[in-house]
């Protein structure tokens, strides 16, 4: 799994070069020409169908490019038998366009997930759903992301390291068997992109980020998220799942330096 994601990242480098050359032309709105190039880089020669059953909710205009709130959902009834197993989330004008890959299970029911992502400039969010047999489905949404200049206060390195990996979890009550239940997961982490200049050495500050979160409920896999640096600082995932019984919701996160952070939340019914 990790290997696969790394392979993806190397493809990303190709896409980065392309997106930068486009970005050099200053445009006022998101550029629809970016995606065809990126689609070819990530899903070479594969067909992709535009669909309505995958949905993206987001502000038309993001207040701060550092923390753009988005909600992704899949309407199973409208999908009409198409079962999405993997959901790739891109911000197509970002230097590193992939923000996360979600590996889904049936226990999630009608998939619904809120998160916060980074925008370098105006861009389209592109969600690509993949089925078990490799069919691809696309949903897109344009977001204007000008004006925000937050999230750049320099921090103390030892404080960042000490705080990294702190987890908060919550499950909304009351919980009922067989009924969609909302869980919230926050993890403290600076999510360094690897593209920031080191002011002293004039090189780049190495990437330092959460690269994976595994959610397990009652001992069974619920969702795995391959996390990329397009996910905002202090990654946040709020999602619904359908508990079959009382049990423990476990989250295990890893960072790109190999550290593991975990927490459990006991769900009572």
């Amino acid at each position: 799994m990790a290997m696969q994601f790394q392979r993806w990242f190397s493809k990303v480098v190709v896409a980065v070069g392309l997106s930068l050359s486009f970005a050099a032309n200053t445009y006022a709105e998101a550029d629809p020409k970016l995606w065809p190039v990126m689609q070819e880089a990530f899903f070479a020669k594969r067909e992709m169908k535009d669909v309505d059953f995958i949905k993206i909710e987001a502000p038309r205009r993001a207040e701060s490019g550092a923390q753009v709130p988005v909600t992704y959902s899949i309407d199973n009834a409208a999908a009409n038998g198409v079962v999405i197993k993997k959901l790739y989330a891109f911000v197509d004008a970002n230097p590193i366009p992939i923000t996360a890959i979600y590996h889904l299970t049936d226990t999630l029911g009608n998939f619904q997930l809120s998160t916060r992502i980074r925008f370098e400039t105006d861009a389209f969010v592109r969600l690509v759903g993949e089925t078990a047999d490799g069919s691809l489905y696309l949903a897109s949404r344009e977001i204007r992301a000008a004006g925000g200049c937050g999230g750049m206060v320099e921090n103390n390195e030892s404080e960042i390291r000490a705080a990294a990996g702190r987890i908060k979890m919550n499950v909304e009550t009351p919980v009922k068997v067989g009924t969609p239940t909302t869980a919230t997961f926050n993890i403290k982490h600076i999510m360094r992109t690897g593209l920031q200049r080191d002011l002293v050495s004039q090189g780049y500050v190495p990437a330092f980020y959460i690269n994976k979160v595994d959610f397990v409920y009652g001992g069974k896999p619920l969702m795995t998220v391959d996390v990329g640096v397009g996910t905002a600082e202090d990654p946040y995932f709020k999602f619904s799942f359908i508990p079959a019984s009382a049990g423990n919701l476990e989250a295990v996160a890893t960072d790109n330096e190999g550290k593991t952070f975990s927490q459990q939340y006991e769900v009572k019914i």
């Binding site: 004006g147 925000g148 937050g150 206060v153 320099e154 403290k188 002011l199």
Partner: protein, 312 residues
């Protein structure tokens, strides 16, 4: 309205206090003996941004001039320089930046010496300013290019040559400015200064009047610094944005009230599991009618502080 009046009045009254001097649509108001303020328009940094949205001031002593913020582009900096020349032939000794935001710093380049033999002013800022400028330079350059187009050309980033760690006194000749560095508040690079001679306090963006206050650094720190400013010996205050006022304690209290309501509302949302998205629609609603640019600025403030306050 006031600007219109100034533009229509073609009197060029030099050295006369409480007069207005106008130069190429760059109006300056004299607010005390030797103190001039230009008011930018209340615009967001988005489509329509022209590099001239904050207050830009200069103070004239017997030896020379101090500039307080330079606007968002070389062009605005040059307009400021021309306005100074209409008032005095004395050299600019100090160019002070109240903090790192692009609307306040990109006119600095106008004050670099034209010839190597010309005297160079000291560029003055918070001890963290140079680093903050570096970290943001790429993003700000893109933003300037995008919104200012040709006006962005030559708007180079000029870093401080003289830093304020805690306090610093600058002598302009028969008048002393006292600069104070602040901890994390509006940004991590905030300084304020007071002209001892007239008791005019330049609050930078620790104080917004009329325009919705902006939090980027730390809302709790900003509230704390605003409260401290209330015990200043000032007679009048020049805010970072908005009109100059002698009713400055009220102005500080207004900003404090907005920020406190915002902080309490966001904390209540987090406690009650109300999402950031919903909170952006509802927080500080009672303040909406008191401020300009409320919709965008308030939403952005929530977007900035909510993810931080989640970890309280």
């Amino acid at each position: 309205m006031r600007i219109l009046m100034i533009t229509m009045s073609l009197f060029s009254i030099i050295g006369c206090s409480h007069a207005e001097v106008q130069h190429s649509n760059f109006a300056v108001e004299s607010v005390a003996d030797g103190i001039y303020v230009h008011h930018g328009e209340h615009l967001d940094i988005d489509t329509g941004y022209q590099g001239d949205i904050c207050n830009i001031s200069f103070i004239v002593g017997s030896k020379g001039v101090a500039v307080i913020d330079t606007g968002g582009s070389l062009k605005v900096g040059q307009q400021l320089q021309s306005a100074i020349r209409k008032v005095t032939p004395l050299p600019v000794l100090y160019v002070i930046n109240t903090h790192v935001h692009p609307d306040h710093i990109y006119g600095n380049a106008a004050f670099l010496p034209k010839n190597p033999s010309d005297p160079k002013p000291e560029f003055v800022g918070h001890e963290k300013l140079a680093n903050a400028m570096d970290v943001r330079s790429e993003q700000y350059a893109k933003l300037n290019e995008r919104f200012l187009h040709d006006d962005a050309i030559g708007s180079e980033l000029i870093k401080p040559t003289l830093v304020v760690k805690t306090t610093l006194e600058l002598d302009l000749g028969d008048r002393v400015l006292v600069l104070n560095a602040h901890p994390l508040a509006h940004t991590n690079t905030d300084i304020t200064l007071i002209d001892r001679k007239t008791g005019t306090l330049f609050a930078g963006d620790l104080l917004f009047i009329a325009r919705t206050p902006v939090v980027e650094g730390d809302i709790k720190g900003l509230i704390a610094e605003i409260i401290k400013l209330k015990s200043s010996p000032a007679t009048q205050v020049v805010p970072g944005h908005g009109p100059v006022t002698k009713d400055w304690v009220v102005a500080l209290s207004n900003a404090e009230r907005y920020l406190t309501v915002l902080l309490n509302d966001v904390r209540a949302s987090i406690k009650g599991n109300v999402s950031m998205e919903k909170t952006m629609d509802t927080a500080a609603e009672s303040e909406r009618n008191h401020w300009k640019l409320f919709e965008i600025a308030n939403r952005r403030n929530v977007n900035t502080i909510y993810p931080v306050l989640e970890w309280e």
